[in-house]
Every structure is written in structure tokens, then in C-alpha cells.
């Protein structure tokens, strides 16, 4: 099944549940009308929260940059001895 269909199915299921709530009046109608707005807002909050968490925990590796510089020096020495043209341009 195409992925977009899965998402649409999920949305339809949620809508059906919502309409059910509206029809059966389990909760006050005025509250039920607001549920889709809550849904969209919470989805947005979830997105922002995930981006925020991702940013604060963004894994960095400054040490790796130093190691790479060492590797580059080592590689240049070796290659120069072997006659490979590694002069910086």
C-alpha cells in the first residue's frame, strides 16, 4: 500500500472517531467541535518539541576534526614519498 494511503486511513479513522463523539454527545458538543484544533496544535507542538530536543542533543565531534587533520598529514607524507602529487592547489 502506498504510504500516503496509510496516512489517509489513519486520518479517516481519527475523523470517524471524532464524528462519533459529535453524534453520541459523550462529551459536550462545543468541546467536541474544538478537538480537531487541539489535534493540529498538538501535532505542531510535537514537531517543535522534537526539533528542539534534536537541537539540544545534536551530537557533535570536534575531536574527530583534529584526528582527521592528523590523518591528512600522515597521508600526505606517505603519498609524497610514493611520488603521488599531493601538493595543495
Amino acid at each position: 500500500m502506498k504510504h500516503v494511503l496509510k496516512i489517509l486511513t489513519l486520518l479517516v479513522a481519527i475523523s470517524a472517531f471524532w464524528i462519533g463523539l459529535l453524534e453520541t454527545s459523550l462529551i459536550p458538543r462545543s468541546n467536541a467541535w474544538l478537538l480537531p484544533i487541539y489535534f493540529v496544535v498538538s501535532l505542531g507542538c510535537y514537531g517543535l518539541l522534537m526539533v528542539g530536543i534534536g537541537l539540544t542533543r545534536f551530537p557533535t565531534c570536534p575531536h574527530e576534526a583534529l584526528l582527521l587533520q592528523q590523518d591528512i598529514v600522515e597521508a600526505k607524507d606517505f603519498l609524497m614519498q610514493k611520488g603521488v602529487d599531493v601538493a595543495s592547489t
Partner: protein, 243 residues
């Protein structure tokens, strides 16, 4: 085929597309040979007609490391990343393919981890991920990190790919799997890497991850402008309706 596989000798073919990487390709090849011992492998350089003499350097490297270990398979001009892999694939003699960037943002010291992971799990694809413990990125400013996180959250919310790093391009593929997946991919740039892994995941291939670090030595954010973001969103939408 299954029986043959276990008896077949394992060989890794590392495809490296280049464009104006004369220094980096030499450094990369040195580091590959330093870190890949005790396995049979070849490096296939697909050069898109670099004017800086990348191909001459590769020929010098062939003198040092042998023409059976370093293959130069150039193309006349810049023809794009996706087709570079297809071009390289035509010339491989290994049964596993590694694709990596030539600019040293992918360090060959992780190659043994990819191989080990594949052997342990018999995975079809092992993909390098920057976003787990042991992985990481260096050289990105806040804006670049923000775009990357935003793109990732959006992609995960919409596509549920089951892989933590969608746009990374340091990966090991079983040859038949790469051939199968690449033939159905049409995207370019960042989206190409995402399309490859999403399609592979949808086809039910066994995907494993290993942590890698990514050192961006090309400072600045020139690579990620507004048009790239639009391309990315179009790519997401395309994957949403076609996979």
C-alpha cells in the same frame, strides 16, 4: 544462490564519485588502504571529467596500490550522483558495494564497522548514521543544524522510514540489493539518498545502522539554500505518494 553465497568469496567494491577532488581522493585512498586490511576490496573512482587533474592523481595512485585495487571509470562530464553509482556498478567485481563521498566527510576508519555489522546481522544494507550515540557532525552552524533536524522530524513524521539518518550517504549494500533499489530511484541530490533508503525499507530489505561521524570541511551553508529546501519538500511529497 543462497548456497553459493556462503562459499563465494566476499569482495567489497567501494564506489567513489569525484569532481575536482585531486587531493581528497589521494588522502581517501591512503586511509582506505590503512583501515581495510584482511579483506578483499577494490576502489572504483567515477570521475566526472574534473578539470583539476583528479584522474592523473588516480593514475598515480594506481601505480602505488595496483590497478586491480584502484579502478578509474571516468565519465566525460558532470552527470549527477545517481547515475555515477549506476556507472560504477557496471564495473564492480565485488558482491558488496560501499558508497561514500570523496571529500573526507566520510572517514574510511568506519569501513570495518560496516563490514562487521553486515557479517554479524547478514543485513542487506548497512547505513551510517550521524544521529545516534557514537555518531556526530562537526562543522555545522546553528542554522544548518536546525534545517537538518527540521528536515529529519518532517521526514520521520510523514514517512516512518525506520532509519535514523535518511540523507546520509555512507552505506554498504549487497550488490543485488543496490541494483534493485537504484533502478527505481529517480531523485537527485539529498533526496536521492533518502529515496534509496526509503524504497529499500518499503521493499522489506534488512537494514542495519552503524554510528559514523561527519566532519564537514567545506565551511559555510552554501549547499543548503532556499531552493534546496523546496527540492527537499518536493522530494518528501514525491516519496509520500510513490512509496
Amino acid at each position: 544462490m543462497e548456497q553459493e553465497k556462503s562459499e563465494e568469496k566476499i569482495k567489497y567494491s567501494i564506489i567513489v564519485p569525484t569532481y575536482n577532488e585531486r587531493l581528497n581522493i589521494a588522502l581517501l585512498v591512503y586511509l582506505i588502504f590503512k583501515h581495510l586490511r584482511e579483506v578483499d576490496f577494490e576502489v572504483i573512482v567515477v570521475d566526472d571529467g574534473s578539470p583539476d587533474g583528479t584522474q592523473e592523481v588516480v593514475k598515480q595512485l594506481q601505480q602505488v596500490y595496483g590497478e586491480d585495487h584502484i579502478l578509474l571509470r571516468p565519465r566525460p562530464r558532470k552527470l549527477g550522483l545517481g547515475t555515477a553509482y549506476i556507472h560504477g556498478l557496471k564495473h564492480v567485481s565485488g558482491n558488496f558495494i560501499v558508497i561514500m563521498d570523496a571529500d573526507l566527510s566520510h572517514h574510511p576508519k568506519y569501513l570495518p564497522n560496516f563490514i562487521k555489522k553486515q557479517l554479524e546481522t547478514d543485513a542487506d544494507i548497512v547505513t551510517g548514521t550521524r544521529y545516534v550515540k557514537g555518531g556526530g557532525v562537526h562543522g555545522w552552524n546553528l542554522m544548518r543544524k536546525l534545517t537538518s533536524r527540521g528536515a529529519n522530524v518532517l521526514a520521520h513524521t510523514l514517512l516512518w522510514p525506520g532509519v535514523s539518518d535518511l540523507t546520509g550517504s555512507f552505506r554498504l549494500y549487497r550488490k543485488s540489493v543496490l541494483e534493485d533499489v537504484i533502478s527505481s530511484c529517480v531523485s537527485k541530490g539529498y533526496v536521492f539518498q533518502m529515496e534509496m533508503i526509503v524504497r529499500a525499507s518499503r521493499k522489506g530489505y534488512h537494514i542495519e545502522e552503524v554510528p559514523i561521524t561527519f566532519v564537514d570541511r567545506v565551511f559555510g551553508t552554501s549547499k543548503l539554500g532556499g531552493s534546496e529546501i523546496v527540492e527537499y519538500l518536493k522530494g518528501l511529497l514525491y516519496l509520500l505518494v510513490t512509496t
